[in-house]
Symmetry: C2
Subunit: 430 residues, 2 copies
């Protein structure tokens, strides 16, 4: 299956960042050629040719942290204090979850992500076989983790770890290599030391990453000092956790010494600005973090606290928030880098998040003809500061077209939406 994207403007995330009038050939799931010279593509038979005229072509977004199936709880409860929201609303609702709920909600979340240009996501939730099945069918790329919650050592903790190990055995490197399974201890405050040590061992054994939440709220940091006389980062460092490659979501409240530790260990941060604002957690100072050497990607978090999975909106918010006292902070290209290549790097995905010969063909085509794209002085600025998710028209993952001119080709989106509406009735309050 060879595909040609003909005569487009490409944002490569490499050097040069923008290439005009290029064509891109895709063979065996990877980008085989990028060139301004039409002769470079002669002699190859292309099964599909996508017209790149008035299209911006760029790598698909990497959503570095989400809870996909929480689509079911989008708009279920908003504008409440975090603890009330969790204890009175979200956790009771999640106790009603079934595998079927998670499967259909995952497909709807995947539809939303494809429609907004996301080709890879890093997930943590329950019933992860159902999520993996949805990823397999839809054609996306994903790093999936079962969320381990085990505050006490013992039987329950071991059961949580064995769920993870079973998931690793069955799905790690599955779906033609598009699925990686990560080990997912939910957070320092929900997992005991024993679980953290075992999680580290599992990640090293299976050559994969740890995916967790870290220092999302100030309360969490204060509680850790009270219980352990250490920040959560210090506690995990003392347990040796960061000897396994780790992606930590949020990091709103990292002290400089925490940032230094995480940077030294190569831990990746998944910055989730919408969720952090909406839950009142604060604003992660990512400009400073990056200056201190921390690797930062961008995530939407789940749809219960965002309330969408739109990475274009998320990277824009990251770029804007960083500028609140310095308009030169996090320029457009740097925000885009976080949402693509840096996200892939912190997830340990080689060849993802940029357009280059030999790279994975995870690509979106964006229509630039709308009023909000005029007059078109600078495509990177227009994408980051003015574009809309709905401008994304065609999406490829691993060289396969998963959406063509706004039609999702890999699964029945209408059926998934109808099922989610029906299944959500049991959560409905209004």
């Amino acid at each position: 299956m060879a595909i040609l994207i003909r005569d487009c403007t490409a944002i490569t995330m490499g050097d040069p960042l923008v290439r005009r009038g290029v064509s891109i050939a895709i063979e065996d799931g990877k980008i085989s050629k990028i060139s301004e010279n039409p002769q470079d593509f002669e002699g190859t038979h292309f099964d599909t040719v996508l017209d790149g005229k008035n299209k911006l072509v760029l790598p698909g977004f990497v959503n570095a942290h989400t809870h996909l199936a929480m689509v079911l709880l989008r708009g279920y409860s908003d504008d409440r204090n975090l603890q009330e929201w969790l204890e009175q609303e979200i956790w009771p609702a999640e106790r009603k979850l079934t595998e079927d709920d998670v499967y259909w909600a995952s497909l709807v979340g995947i539809a939303e992500m494809i429609r907004s240009g996301t080709t890879t996501f890093c997930d943590m939730y329950f019933f992860m076989d159902a999520v993996a099945q949805a990823v397999k069918e839809s054609g996306l790329r994903a790093v999936l983790s079962y969320g381990i919650i085990a505050p006490q050592p013992g039987e329950k903790a071991q059961r949580e770890l064995s769920v993870t190990e079973k998931f690793l055995r069955e799905w790690h490197n599955g779906a033609e290599g598009r699925i990686r399974v990560a080990v997912g201890p939910h957070a320092p405050y929900t997992c005991c030391d024993e679980v953290w040590r075992d999680a580290r061992a599992l990640a090293l054994q299976y050559n994969t990453i740890i995916h967790t939440h870290l220092q999302e709220t100030l309360a969490e940091v204060n509680e850790s000092f009270r219980r352990y006389q250490k920040s959560p980062t210090e506690r995990l460092e003392a347990l040796g956790v960061f000897e396994a490659p780790t992606v930590a979501a949020h990091g709103v409240h990292l002290r400089d010494s925490d940032v230094a530790t995480l940077a030294r260990r190569g831990v990746g941060l998944a910055h989730c600005p919408t969720s952090n604002l909406k839950l009142g957690s604060g604003i992660a100072p990512v400009k400073r973090y990056k200056q201190m050497g921390l690797r930062v990607g961008i995530g939407t978090d789940g749809a219960a606290s965002n309330n969408n999975l739109d990475m274009l909106e998320e990277l824009r918010l990251a770029a804007l928030l960083a500028k609140r006292d310095d308009p030169t902070a996090l320029p457009a290209a740097e925000a885009l880098q976080m949402a693509t290549q840096s996200g892939a790097q912190i997830l340990g995905l080689e060849g993802v998040g940029h357009l280059a010969e030999g790279a994975e063909a995870d690509i979106m085509l964006v229509n630039t003809s709308g009023a909000h794209w005029q007059p078109g002085h600078n495509p990177v600025s227009d994408l980051v500061y003015a574009a809309q998710a709905s401008d994304v028209e065609t999406v490829l993952v691993a060289g396969r077209i998963v959406m063509k001119e706004k039609e999702i080709l890999t699964f029945d989106e209408e059926r998934a939406k109808a099922n989610v509406r029906a299944l959500s009735a049991k959560y409905r309050k209004l």
Copy 2:
């Protein structure tokens, strides 16, 4: 011309906020009936019936502060310090502006606004006859002001005021009453006392409002204290300016005593969170302002500093930012109120910004079938936190359909875009 919107879910901005299964009749430019009972609409002949199934119907957004024709400079310069950006980029580019540029750019900006559900906007720029002409043709509602810049008293200042008075005479209450002309002294730091006194007199004489910028940056406040030993608000209050109804944009750096003065005088604030972040001005503490009695609407500012005119994005950002340390601040319905009815109120527009019998028929129909609207627990939350501009399908202003199923009916959008692209060549740097 009678129009019926049949069987929709309406967000009224009144009580009850959400009404399901209602129909809305529109006659002579106004809403004549809202009812759940189909019999209430029998006996009326409707020229057009719009199907409200799976549609959310709500009042059009009121963009309380913009510089519409700056669409020409979208993406022209970003991520720079405010003074460099203005002095080295924006002002030199604006010196090349012609009336033709402003006319076509205004039409493209209006297309963008219609497509994102805005039915009223409050503008300040140059060549305002061209903006008024674009408003007249497009069918939108607008409060238009010529931006007076006159730091010194004398001939230039009087010339600026006479441009305003000519514009008032020719366009105030024009376009079947859809256009109001405001008096637009650009800002305290760009207008001398003489101009402020004359602007106040003009506004009172023509029974209209003053539209200005106020305390956008801390530097502006400090400079005012140095020159006048007063904050900008104190200086305008001492000049009697606020005896005329006033809308002030930004207000990022208001001291409590300024807020008290503005609240007592009934001054309206146009909160522009995206522009304030992007230019590094900061975050206006609107939760506190509102608690102190200040009336607050929402504006996008111009496309050179936003870089779009999407009010849905703007009200979402306002809601999210206010929550950064308190998730209960500015709940969804309150943010929506600011972007609709409160915006209309600060502009002095009666019967705009809500759905009620007798109110102006400025209405949008929003498609709720997309993946990002599922499962649909709460339409207000979904609109504020998850919707996209592109979900807006049909827009009416003063009872006239200006966009139907995504087609703009009142002017040739493609021609306007082509002209803007051609005219923008002289500004192009890349």
